[in-house]
């Protein structure tokens, strides 16, 4: 079932003293439930912009984006916010844990924007997810008391806590050493599979990209599918 589809999406930005800069050009991409997709590209190739468009944090300049078959452009800002909270989970390269809050509070934060059981039982739910990523015993630790790998695991738990249908990971191992990065990616892959969520990973590391089922290259804002045999 198609969750998100991009049809001929472009993204340009106006520059004050020169022609508009094209960041994404003619992107066609479909993400369905359970997909494992990787997008590899160099710095400045438009990877993060693509992820922001997929996460409804940014809007296409032209082309169309559909969420469950409905054009996202017809959604209000509040609707997009609610979809983002309910159906999407973000994992950032720099973890972006909220300072001054414990691991448990960080994981519970997205549940502050939920309703019903998810809101009222947020601490219990957050602890369960922390347990799933192996950090239940560090629930009361502050971010600065955690290693890089642990911080990213907390971030993964936070992305999964509302049970999203799509996880968007922007260079999730970019701030980790190779060994820790592989462990974190293995964990991310495992918990995403367990939850049945689609996973779109943006990375410049081919080894990380190999974990996905479908592979894309982003070069100069143009997205192209990569032959599976090339990857292996």
């Amino acid at each position: 079932m198609s969750l998100i589809r991009l049809e001929q999406v472009t993204r340009t930005v106006e520059l004050p003293d020169s022609d508009p800069l094209t960041i994404l050009s003619g992107i066609d991409l479909e993400v369905s439930v359970g997909d494992r997709i990787s997008v590899v590209g160099r710095s400045g190739s438009g990877k993060s912009t693509l992820l922001n468009v997929l996460g409804m944090l940014d809007s296409p300049s032209t082309g169309q984006m559909l969420f469950e078959g409905r054009p996202v452009s017809t959604f209000s800002s509040g609707q997009r916010d609610r979809i983002r909270g309910r159906d999407l989970g973000f994992i950032f390269q720099q973890f972006n844990l909220l300072q001054g809050r414990t691991a448990l509070e960080n994981v519970a934060t997205p549940l502050l924007y939920a309703t019903g059981r998810q809101f009222w039982q947020r601490d219990r739910i957050a602890l369960e997810i922390l347990d799933k990523v192996g950090l239940a015993d560090r629930a009361s630790s502050m971010p600065e008391q955690l290693s890089g790998g642990e911080q990213q695991r907390v971030a993964i738990a936070r992305a999964l806590v509302r049970g999203p249908r799509l996880i968007l990971a922007d260079e999730p191992t970019g701030a980790l050493d190779i060994e820790t990065g592989e462990q974190v990616m293995a964990l991310l892959d495992e918990v995403a599979k367990e939850s049945g969520a689609a996973l779109v990973t943006i990375t410049h590391d081919p080894k990380i990209a190999q974990l996905a089922d479908t592979h894309y290259h982003l070069v100069g804002g143009v997205l192209s599918a990569v032959d599976q045999s090339v990857m292996t």
Binding site: D81, R86, Q99, G100, G116, F119
Partner: protein
């Protein structure tokens, strides 16, 4: 409904978390608000006491609202014969069922102290004069109706007088000799009233009839009596006109009766303390504005450090409305707590005996309760300051671009 309710609770939870995490910053910024609210509340509360003191002091001279003063002059400028005037006065009080009325005359009386004879200022009044003019006693009691029957006249003396007597206990019925031209009399001190700072001479109150009985013929002839009444304000004007007419008629041809309002409320102003209130309110408002500016300043500076956090929250699904409300709530929750602290501090300050003594100048009979409006004004001001101080940062927070914020 459920989403709305959880949204409200969630915003409060977020605000509480923010306050906990940034407690040092919050404490520093809220000290200013607490001080401002405390100052505002103290100014309003202390203003009420000062106003009451001013009212009471003015009422001691001019009477309480509505006080009427009666003056009657004959054609030759003298007062009417005492017997005629006393009868007309008694008839008028009876006719209009006036409970609070007093004759009042000022004279001097030689008094024998242990260290010699002193001329003492005496004010001769009726028993109702005490409540009419808020006479405050440090010790003892004011005159009662049956004090007029005493053979030894009752005296209510000032503190200087009482000290000259050696500050005797009043339950020992201390006496003093009042020297007359023809005869002496023994006066009994039944009450002591406080002396103003500037008053260093002994003085006393006597009952009007007792003083007249003691005065010699010459003193009686020179007696100039004022007549005062304390009546409900709503009938004051009607009564004033009637009394003028009645007394002019009762005292015969050539008599002119003049009745006028003597209390401060009759001086033409709707609120005689309006100017004082405006000045006090202006100062309090200024203090609060300064506190609010400090809070806005700190909030804006802090917000710059929180832009990434706002972006991350938006990526979790926080709507712009929710971000706006949460940032506002941080400010409002903080200032409400600061306001409560400020109001409690203000109550402690305003009710301190030292401040009451200073503001009341030691002359307050009716200490006003802590004005509830001062506490309400303090809390409302704190909440309003919180909302206003939170508004600007909240607007800035809403305008943050999520993508830029995450990369910030």
């Amino acid at each position: 409904m459920n989403a709305f309710f959880t949204g409200i609770v969630g915003a409060f939870v977020e605000a509480a978390q923010e306050l906990r995490i940034h407690r040092t910053r919050v404490l520093l910024s809220l000290v200013g608000v607490a001080v401002a609210v405390c100052a505002l509340t103290v100014v309003v509360g202390a203003g009420a006491i000062a106003q009451q003191a001013t009212v009471e002091i003015s009422e001691r001279f001019g009477g309480r609202p509505a006080s009427l003063a009666l003056q009657v002059n004959m054609a030759d400028g003298t007062q009417p014969p005492k017997e005629m005037m006393d009868k007309a006065w008694a008839d008028a009080l009876d006719r209009y069922a006036i409970s609070y009325a007093s004759r009042n005359t000022q004279a001097s009386q030689n008094v024998q102290f242990v260290d010699g004879v002193s001329m003492v200022q005496v004010q001769a009044v009726d028993p109702e004069f005490g409540p009419m003019r808020r006479i405050l006693l440090d010790d003892g009691v004011w005159f009662a109706d049956d004090d007029a029957q005493r053979l030894a006249p009752a005296l209510v003396v000032n503190e200087v007088f009482w000290q000259r007597l050696g500050a005797p206990a009043l339950n020992t019925n201390p006496t003093v000799t009042l020297l007359g031209a023809d005869q002496n009399a023994l006066g009994v001190v039944i009450g002591v009233y406080p002396t103003n700072m500037w008053d260093t001479e002994p003085a006393m109150y006597m009952l009007y009839d007792g003083y007249v009985a003691l005065a010699d013929t010459e003193a009686q002839a020179n007696l100039w009596t004022e007549y005062s009444l304390w009546v409900p304000p709503e009938i004051a004007e009607e009564l004033r006109v009637s009394l003028e007419s009645d007394f002019s008629g009762a005292l015969g041809e050539g008599a002119t009766a003049t009745v006028y309002r003597s209390d401060i409320g009759a001086q033409g102003q709707e609120d005689p303390f309006l100017a004082v209130k405006l000045v006090i309110g202006g100062i309090a408002g200024l203090v609060l504005v300064l506190g609010a500016l400090g809070l806005v300043n700190i909030s804006l500076v802090t917000l710059k450090q929180r832009i990434r956090e706002i972006g991350v929250r938006r990526s979790f699904g926080a709507t712009s409305g929710r971000i706006f409300f949460a940032v506002m709530m941080e400010s409002v929750v903080g200032t409400i707590v600061a306001g409560a602290v400020g109001v409690v501090a203000a109550i402690l300050i305003v009710r301190s005996p030292w401040l009451i003594e200073v503001l009341g100048q030691g002359m307050l009979t009716d200490l006003p309760p802590f004005p509830i409006e001062a506490a309400i004004i303090g809390m409302v001001a704190a909440t309003a300051v919180g909302a206003l101080a939170g508004l600007l940062p909240a607007l800035v927070a809403v305008r943050v671009k999520v993508i830029d914020a995450i990369r910030f």
